[in-house]
């Protein structure tokens, strides 16, 4: 049963990651390879807030979200003038630099040794969120919260503006909208919600090291999002469930563990190629990336 709960917790974490990335990739058509960097920044700031500052759950979460939001502005300000491949490249650069700092700045991040023994966050001074059932509840609440916020955002006037911008920037400029500020807001919202996933991951696993937040993880998050689909809530949710369940299904099929990990990656790669060729909007999305 714990195994089953574990899978649901992982799905919840990826739902947070993909639903918030969708705002950037699906609603604004900014393909980012730097999502794992935000995930990592969120996780490391969560740990900082929980251990060094010794804060309870909600303040720690807010610290992590704010800090990640601030870092996203750093990327937004440097990359927003760039288009298509150049934009992808600058997010890739951000990913590499962030990873390099997490990995090499040993006096602060403990580098490749990682940070073990992350304490269970305290909620309202009474509950300790530790053990699998409380985590199941906590992560489900957080993923539902994220889904709710982004559902509201996508269907709000703000969401309609984003849709208009991704279809035709020029038209929006002529209507007197400030598209740079719109994009910066998207960046900040999307990445500060990714910090929630970082918080969930750090407190659930109770150990973080930079290898969980490398370029491969960025590609994985993006794959989950693209497989599921862009532009609505259903797409990212379907994608997260798919990429977390697929390895488990492969395990039941009886694939030996030595090749299972590679086989899984090969299947993701194949699905990406096939989807891009025949169904660029993904399994359940409603937007084709441009």
């Amino acid at each position: 049963m714990n195994y089953f709960f574990h899978i649901i917790i992982m799905i919840n974490i990826y739902i947070v990651l993909t639903v918030s990335s969708n705002l950037l990739v699906g609603m604004t058509n900014l393909l980012s390879l730097g999502q794992a960097a935000f995930y990592g920044i969120g996780a490391y700031f969560s740990v900082l807030a929980l251990t060094t500052l010794n804060l309870p759950l909600i303040p720690s979460l807010i610290v992590a979200m704010l800090a990640t939001g601030v870092f996203s502005l750093l990327l937004a300000l440097t990359s927003l003038r760039l288009k298509n491949d150049y934009f992808v490249l600058s997010t890739l650069g951000f990913q590499i630099i962030t990873f390099s700092v997490l990995y090499n700045w040993i006096s602060v991040t403990k580098g490749p040794y990682g940070i073990p023994g992350i304490p269970a966050p305290k909620l309202l001074g009474i509950f300790q969120v530790s053990g699998i059932i409380p985590f199941l509840i906590f992560s489900t609440v957080m993923s539902l919260f994220t889904i709710f916020i982004f559902y509201y955002l996508i269907n709000s006037p703000f969401g309609r503006l984003l849709k208009a911008m991704r279809e035709d920037e020029l038209a929006l400029i002529t209507l007197g909208k400030n598209i740079t500020s719109l994009k910066i807001q998207t960046f900040a919202i999307s990445s500060s919600f990714i910090a929630i996933a970082g918080f969930l991951y750090a407190t659930y696993v109770t150990y973080i090291d930079p290898s969980s937040f490398n370029l491969d993880e960025s590609i994985f998050i993006l794959s989950a999002l693209l497989i599921g689909g862009l532009g609505n809530i259903k797409g990212p949710v379907v994608g997260s469930i798919f990429v977390i369940l697929l390895p488990e299904i492969l395990r039941f099929v009886g694939l030996p563990d030595s090749i299972a990990a590679n086989m899984r990656q090969i299947i993701y790669g194949l699905i990406l190629i096939i989807l891009m060729r025949f169904k660029p909007e993904g399994l359940a999305g409603n937007y084709r990336i441009k």
Partner: protein, 290 residues
Amino acid sequence: MLLIQLLINGIIMGAVYSLASLGFAIVYNTTKIFHIGYSALYMIAPYFFWQLYTKLGLNISLSIFVSIILTMIISILIDKTIYQPLFIKKSSSNVVTISSIGVVTIIVNVIAMIFGNETKILNSDIANTIKFSGMIVTYPQVYQFISSIIIIIIFFIVLKKTNLGIIIRAFSNNDVLVQIMGINILRTRLLLFGISGIMIAIAGLSISYDVGMDPYIGMPMLLNVIVAFIIGGIGSFAGPLIGGFFIGVIQALTIWMFSSKWQSAITFIILIIFLIFRPQGFLGKKEREV
């Protein structure tokens, strides 16, 4: 003294970056494909060589020749089966980039599944060295430098003196006009991917002969290649040379001033500085977005 030695190493590495980056330029300048699959070709060539030379015991020059040819064929197949159908469908650049990520994922994991994740050594002897006035250059470094320079020179002779060179230059200038002139650009593309495959195969072989390889060496190399290409100047064929040597020397200076572990971070900080202040690179022409 150390500085001069590091600069020599940097220039040798720079020659390899130049070659690899030229191969990337041949694809990007003409087809505008952000060819992330290129990283897989860099890694696959030494694996072919390992299979032929170490496993099957073929002689060394035949093994080198056959592995270059096989890499070239894979490069052509990637274009034929993945990129050309997307080109015919007029897919957007992000769709092509994502497919390219899918290609890398598949090739890297197939290789990891067949050959394992561990580092393989191609040349287990202690390298012979050439010493002059206190500087040391190893034989593998000599091979790296000479093979890169020879291929680069051959390419520039082809580019300036032959019909094929004219087509390549015309293609990188305006692909629609090339089609109007009655040149089959789909077939020309295969040729270009072939040339680019040969170049990256030689870069991959010469580096792996020195330091060995594992299935994941491609991506770090590709990142250097892309940075060299961008700061050299998109659209130009001399740009990658300047960019390649520039990155080689900068990385040597990074070792001298900080430590080798900050190489990738410094490389990308330079890229981001270029993207902000001089996105056209050293030699590129400034283009205005329409």
